[in-house]
Symmetry: C2
Subunit: 283 residues, 2 copies
Amino acid sequence: MKNIYVIGVGLIGGSLAKDIKANNPEVIIHGISRKETTLDQALSLGLIDKKATLDDIEHADLVIVSIPVDATVKLLPSILDKISDNGLVIDAGSTKEAICKVVENHPKRRNFLAAHPIAGTEYSGPSAAISGLFKGKTNIICEVEKTAFKLQEKALDIFRALGMRIRYMNPEAHDKHIAYVSHLSHISSFMLGKTVIEKEKNERDIFDMAGSGFASTVRLAKSSPEMWTPIFKQNKANVIETLEGYIKNLTQFKELMEDDDFDAIFKEMKDTNHITDILNGIN
Amino acid sequence: MKNIYVIGVGLIGGSLAKDIKANNPEVIIHGISRKETTLDQALSLGLIDKKATLDDIEHADLVIVSIPVDATVKLLPSILDKISDNGLVIDAGSTKEAICKVVENHPKRRNFLAAHPIAGTEYSGPSAAISGLFKGKTNIICEVEKTAFKLQEKALDIFRALGMRIRYMNPEAHDKHIAYVSHLSHISSFMLGKTVIEKEKNERDIFDMAGSGFASTVRLAKSSPEMWTPIFKQNKANVIETLEGYIKNLTQFKELMEDDDFDAIFKEMKDTNHITDILNGIN
């Protein structure tokens, strides 16, 4: 492995580039981006060694696609058109069904591995890239059997070196579960932020009274709309289902309060405290 | 100031006791609790110097009331009945209207200061008490003019030594604002946890796929139902108002998705990113 091309050198692509370079100082990291300024920033931050364009990827041993999922769906077939016979293309998108679908009949399907490294922060862009982001985190791989065996091995070596735990799943199951444990959290956080901003015209009051609990629940409302809009679009049916469940539960909670049924309110919370056991496994 | 009585030696009372003792090694911290086991734990953790009962508080220079807000409303008048002429009673409840109301005509009203130190974690009980919990945090004081001037000064000295920022507010405004920046966050978190637990029967999948974003939004769902049920009960009208706003926004977001209006979805998120500026002031 000599030439690695990273398409999209933001939080995920930049962090991957950083760790892979640290693990393999001999590789050359080539950065590709729609924006020249992004590449300049990635260069000056030392995330990439060289600037490149999509035309160059015929020289790639590995291509990492870490751009918004709508751009991945659009670009992935042409990236595979260009990849060499021994080259590997890995994506890092938060949706998997549409991405797997768009290349299902591509003659180079075996050169592609569909992945979702579940790691990130609420920040974005090259300056958000950090070392060790993937350590101990889960990487969901979809349709592994459709990737050439030798390229699977290559990918697993990279993920192992990053310290990731691997889980295999089909794209439909991935998109359904991730809607609950990731996509819904983002919407709940954005709408919480919106609700508070709307009502609290005097922001000084929010600032003064908000504690760490509010900061924690609303943190994801800093996330990038450029990245999240296409995720919600591609995972529309699942995300709507989670929203329906969430709105139903909130409405029921409100009705219990209106009915002064605080024994039931207590029970609702007591039953959910059980989330502690689940969360103990995270972080 | 020699004898301090802390009623409720959990997260808040225990943390206050710890810091006050550290700042004033000469004081004796007396712990009061319904449960003998709690007092034993607080003693062995070094949070309190002695066990006491409500009958002893005639000897108190300072009483800190840090118990669930329904218990505060019930006990506060009888605590004030017993306090000496120079004794000060401070509460730490997350609601202020009902607490201020219950003692508004009490002959010892001037011996009481209504406070809400906005600090905490999702844990509870004596073992949750930590040093420095209040440093840099906001303390809302209500109806300060109803407290004797000398006792106001005494309280402010203590809060300053804890490193707290003081804000003055009337109880109605406190309860209205805090519903948005604290109480709603707790419900959004509990209902998010519930929604995910309900749908994800196979918890192994949650554990494996949930990232730090989910952990952050659902962290408050570990909070104590014993503490939060009476808060929601006392702040019912305001909390229901916040829930209505939140449900409305979530429903609108869902409808935009159903209508495939992803330009509007983008705009919703972009507009709310602005929360970053507000959050920069917290933590």
